[in-house]
Symmetry: C2
Subunit: 200 residues, 2 copies
DNA sequence: TGGGTCATGTAACCTGTTACATGATTAG
DNA sequence: CTAATCATGTAACAGGTTACATGACCCA
């Protein structure tokens, strides 16, 4: 996955490992993270596979750099990947792994947990995003066919975050109700209550 | 993550590696997958860490089994994890990685791609789910405080899938519009058109 | 003078995937 | 008779994380 992601970035113009790192950090971070160590390792493997070629560029006042360019074989591989590698729909979600076992803790702490999740959800300011990666936006103006998919991934992130926020609100409501029920039970003896959800 | 997930499962009752595998396969698969090879490896590490203890149980007519039980130290670790390990909100999404570079292909193939994504989204039938893991549902009846979180994770899956389906529909609409625009440009010379999205 | 940016990586480790191996019982 | 279920793993590889190391230049 990362290997092909890097290949896709280089296909939009030659890049150094450092530049690739900044694109992941500033633009793709909402769906993928990558450490420099991993990027440099993948670049070496890609060169061995013949997908990219490397040029050493001496610089003055800055460290020298290694610029990577895509080869014809790399272009073939990029298209093969996009065509043939299938659709990955299920991926591990560590947030749900934790949520699944939250019943081990008291209800009050469960409410705190879901509230922290909700508060941590802040979708990026579009103005900031634009300035963070100005050259991507420049390219987009010249190439609407690529820009449309970049917009799609941003939109996906926006919707995902909205969905999660709504989910948090419903969870908090249900947990508050359960808490109220438990408080009642602690005061009186035994009691029954209707168990109906908030869910549509 | 997986290590603590396994610990959580064992905390709800002693289990063999095989049983843990079936729970991941039948119930947790919507947010986490795990291979048997990985489960057995983690169990050995957990025993070395003192989180679980292992008992060899000879059987007749079936292979012998190793049953794992949680230790007091394991219970402490489970609660520590749930309390202190922070909230993981960003995780790599391979679907978006592919979508981001789909502009390398012709618009028609982009439409096919998004349609395949949409068609591959099928949320599990709740009736089937219930029968797949009958003992979990039995436990849920006796323990509503745990059951509520299990319901939350299922609900998250349902909402996530609905969100993705809507996203696909919007993408298809926009791509069809772009395709129409390109067809027009191919017929006549140059032309302008308003670039406004479907997005709210 | 101290922190940020540009620019490169290595080493060790942890986590996840794929492929292989065994072997009895049971249900169709 | 054949496929699935129960039940255990190992080995090799691929992918991701953490920590460390270097060094000049520029801005406050």
């Amino acid at each position: 996955m990362l290997r092909h992601g890097i290949l896709g970035l280089i296909s939009n113009g030659d890049k150094t490992g450092y530049e690739i790192m900044t694109v992941f950090r500033d633009s793709l971070r909402y769906f993928w993270t990558a450490q420099t160590s991993q990027i440099y390792r993948e670049l070496q493997k890609m060169e061995k596979a013949g997908w990219v070629s490397q040029t050493h560029v001496p610089q003055v006042g800055k460290p020298d750099k290694n610029v990577f360019s895509i080869t014809p074989a790399g272009r073939d591989e990029l298209l093969r990947w996009l065509r043939d590698d299938g659709i990955p729909l299920r991926f591990n979600n560590p947030l749900m792994m934790i949520a699944f076992f939250m019943g081990e803790r008291p209800v009050e702490e469960g409410i705190d947990f879901v509230q922290s999740v909700r508060d941590a959800l802040v979708f990026p300011d579009e103005g900031k995003e634009a300035s963070a990666n100005a050259d991507m936006y420049q390219q987009a103006l010249r190439n609407p066919e690529k820009a449309i998919y970049w917009k799609f991934t941003i939109e996906y992130g926006r919707r995902f975050e909205a969905m999660q926020r709504e989910w948090c609100e419903c969870c908090i409501n249900e947990l508050e109700r359960l808490k109220g029920l438990k408080d009642l039970q602690r005061q009186s003896g035994a009691s029954e209550a209707s168990e109906k959800g908030d869910w549509p």
